[in-house]
């Protein structure tokens, strides 16, 4: 076939259209997020943040403060562990009900699935804020909040993992007369157990970060100390607390890495696959869980006394019906738009920064930087960005970007390291310089993974963006916080429904985009 010399790239048209639509879509979002890099260099802001940062040195190390800090750290660990136990107990039956695995007829399970969506769709901090109103200040609210949200997340992912492994072994067992639970235990769990355990450990790591911020709504732990330190602009205390965060997150990271690696070891050659190490680990887990529930006043049983149930009843009843008056809806709609803008801008900034940090990751300072960014939760970043650029959505977007850049940078670096190396090597052997060889050889192999990570992160960030307003960083959180403080439950209820719908919509959009990328 002879080539038409004037051949044009047939993809050019759609690329041009994409290149034109992306700015058209992003521009209003950047406007809504009030992105204003100049604010970073505003002299007034510089003075505030400069004074604050200057006070970081030396970090506070008075004996009294360290005593508070130790107690708050223990409380944080207890909230995370107790919350995870609750989440796990909730997730196992829910996952069993929701998953299509091990069923002979496909089912939809609309009830369980929508319950999971509601549990996951409302951020844990919103649950915590609500529970604090009912049960009073203290760690119990944090534990319940973590338990519900993480229970929903664990159940959804467990259900998906069980559906993703080879279904044939379980099907054969069922045809041979085994019931569904036994068929799943013998036919599915052996295939899925490693991934299930690995995800659970990973979630526990996240739970520690989440319980750190519970204190911002009065649900105990390190966050409460941080909130106080920030309100007093006490840089020395803030520095010590931040260092403690990092220490906690790094140790959780190390422990979870070690646990996941030990899942990879083949079982020993003896009748029971569980040996001394597993027994020790099981006991430690049990002891940790019991100690966590016993710790201070995480007394969930007392929640079910009659007067508590009554007060829950009246509190919940106040939320219905949601306030649907036109001017309130208008305000909420603007909050939704701002929240969406914060999540998109924050994620995009993080993707760019994460990529820049991932490329030279082999160098020591970048690893430390990535881990530092990652170990500080978004909400804590937000308390500092509002000092740097003032109250409003830009502070929220920056806070999201800072934390997410750490997370994405690490994921990107892993994806690039795992991309098939042959294509890039071949180009370098043909004399291609580093960056073209990377763009033509390595990047196409890693791109689907990079895009998927970014979109998953966006799904998380929309939930985060919804609560950054608790510390004044814009979005729906601000509305919710104010209305709940004023006991306007009906208005708050509208905001919560909006958060839920927004997170569902973003999940759908992200799934659609991921499908488009293939």
């Amino acid at each position: 076939m002879l080539l038409n010399p004037s051949a044009r790239d047939p993809a050019a048209r759609s690329r041009l259209i994409a290149a034109l639509t992306v700015p058209v879509v992003l521009w209003p979002l950047f406007r809504a997020a009030e992105v204003e890099p100049g604010a970073l260099f505003d002299p007034d802001n510089l003075k505030v943040i400069g004074h604050f940062l200057a006070a970081f040195l030396p970090p506070e190390s008075g004996a009294e403060f360290l005593g508070y800090l130790a107690r708050a750290t223990l409380e944080t660990l207890a909230i995370a562990t107790a919350g995870m136990v609750l989440a796990f107990l909730l997730a196992v039956p829910l996952a069993y009900l929701a998953t299509g695995a091990g069923r002979e007829q496909p089912t939809l399970n609309p009830l369980t699935r929508s319950l999971l969506t509601v549990l996951r769709g409302i951020p844990e901090l919103v649950w915590a804020l609500l529970f604090v109103r009912v049960f009073g200040l203290g760690p119990a609210a944090g534990v319940l909040a973590l338990g519900l949200t993480y229970g929903g997340m664990l159940a959804k992912v467990y259900a998906e993992i069980l559906e993703s492994v080879d279904a044939a072994p379980a099907r054969v067992l069922r045809h041979n007369g085994a019931g569904r639970p036994l068929a799943m235990l013998y036919g599915l769990l052996p295939l899925a157990s490693k991934e299930l355990a690995s995800y659970t450990v990973y979630r526990w790591e996240c739970a520690i970060r989440a319980s750190v911020v519970m204190g911002f709504v009065g649900a105990g732990g390190l966050g409460q100390l941080m909130d106080q330190a920030m309100k007093m602009l006490n840089g020395g205390e803030a520095a010590t607390i931040l260092l403690t965060f990092m220490l906690l997150v790094f140790s959780a990271d190390g422990l979870s890495g070690w646990l996941r690696r030990s899942l990879d070891r083949p079982p020993a050659n003896r009748p029971s696959p569980f040996g001394g190490r597993s027994a020790f680990f099981g006991l430690a887990l049990l002891a940790g869980a019991v100690a966590s529930f016993k710790y201070r006043d995480i007394d969930l049983a007392s929640l079910w006394r009659l007067e508590a149930v009554n007060s829950i009843g009246t509190f919940v009843a106040d939320f219905f019906p949601p306030d649907l008056s036109a001017d309130w809806l208008d305000k909420v709609a603007r909050g939704v738009w701002e929240t969406l803008a914060i999540s998109v801008v924050g994620t995009l900034l993080a993707a760019v920064a994460g990529m820049l940090l991932a490329l030279p990751r082999r160098w020591m300072p970048f690893t430390v930087l990535l881990n530092t960014l990652r170990s500080v939760p978004e909400l804590v970043w937000a308390t500092m960005t509002v000092l740097a650029v003032g109250l409003g959505p830009f502070a929220g977007a920056l806070a999201l970007a800072l934390h997410t850049a750490g997370v994405l940078g690490r994921l990107y670096a892993e994806a690039l390291a795992n991309a098939p190396p042959a294509a890039g090597c071949a180009l370098r052997l043909a004399g291609a310089p580093g960056s073209p060889a990377f763009c033509y050889g390595t990047l196409p192999g890693a791109a689907p993974q990079l895009v998927a990570y970014t979109l998953y992160r966006w799904e998380m960030n929309i939930r985060m963006a919804a609560i950054l307003g608790f510390v004044g960083a814009g979005g729906l959180g601000q509305l919710l916080y104010v209305e709940l403080s004023l006991f306007h439950q009906a208005r708050a209820s509208t905001v919560i429904v909006a958060m839920l719908l927004l997170s569902i919509a973003v999940d759908q959009a992200s799934a659609w985009l991921r499908r488009k990328m293939h």
């Binding site: 294509a423 052997l429 043909a430 033509y440």
Partner: protein, 275 residues
Amino acid sequence: MAFRLNGVGLAYANGFDALKGITLQAAQGERIALIGPSGAGKTSLLSVLGTAWAPTVGTAEILDAGDRPRSAAALARLRARIGTIHQSPPIPGRQRAVTAVLAGRLGRWPAWKSLASLIYPLDIPGAGAALDRVDLADKLFARCDQLSGGQLQRVGIARVLYQQPDLILADEPVSALDPALALATIRLLIADAEARGATLVASLHAVDLAIGNFSRIVGVKAGRIAFDLPAGEVGIPLLHELYAGEGGELPVQAHEPHFLSQAAANDAATRAACC
């Protein structure tokens, strides 16, 4: 001189000696076939020629760059003049054929051109012509994960044709092609090398393809050179000795009787199979 290997040995990181005492040289424009059983060291030898591995023992002078170029820039300039066709084409599945072919010139293009070309391919006619030579002009804008194994291998060949290197290293360039197409493709590579005065070193599994088309045959066995002879002097006993331990059959492309005598008579049968 195209290359001169002097007492070259190559030990991999695990300590395995893949090449031992290889001394081999070629004039510019020569066309050499490497044959030998699986694991003999053909790919390893081609990697040394392609500067992927520096010899652990001995010296390797490639093109006119001398032994070991002094700087990274000099090495990159040398590598831009070497084109390698890999045993399995190292092309990302999501890349389009046009981009995969244009990637052959990354070593010579300025960075801005390489990057701009990712947005809009800057030499569509050039890539199209290269793909046309391997009969794939209609796949110019197809994604590589939608090509068959043989088509993908031909995209890899088109990339090297587009690169126009002074030294072409082909590692089993036709392993995924049917006999007729394999022969046509080998001839295409030879014709391209001949027209541009480039040197061609190709490793081949099929001895009939090697002997029928290349003037010089190098047999490799257990990391050493077993023989280095003009094609006409490679006889059946020599080949049986080279492939001893692979079951007594000689690996060939076209299962025709007496292929060797035909090969020596410049291969009329296979030529017929081609057209």
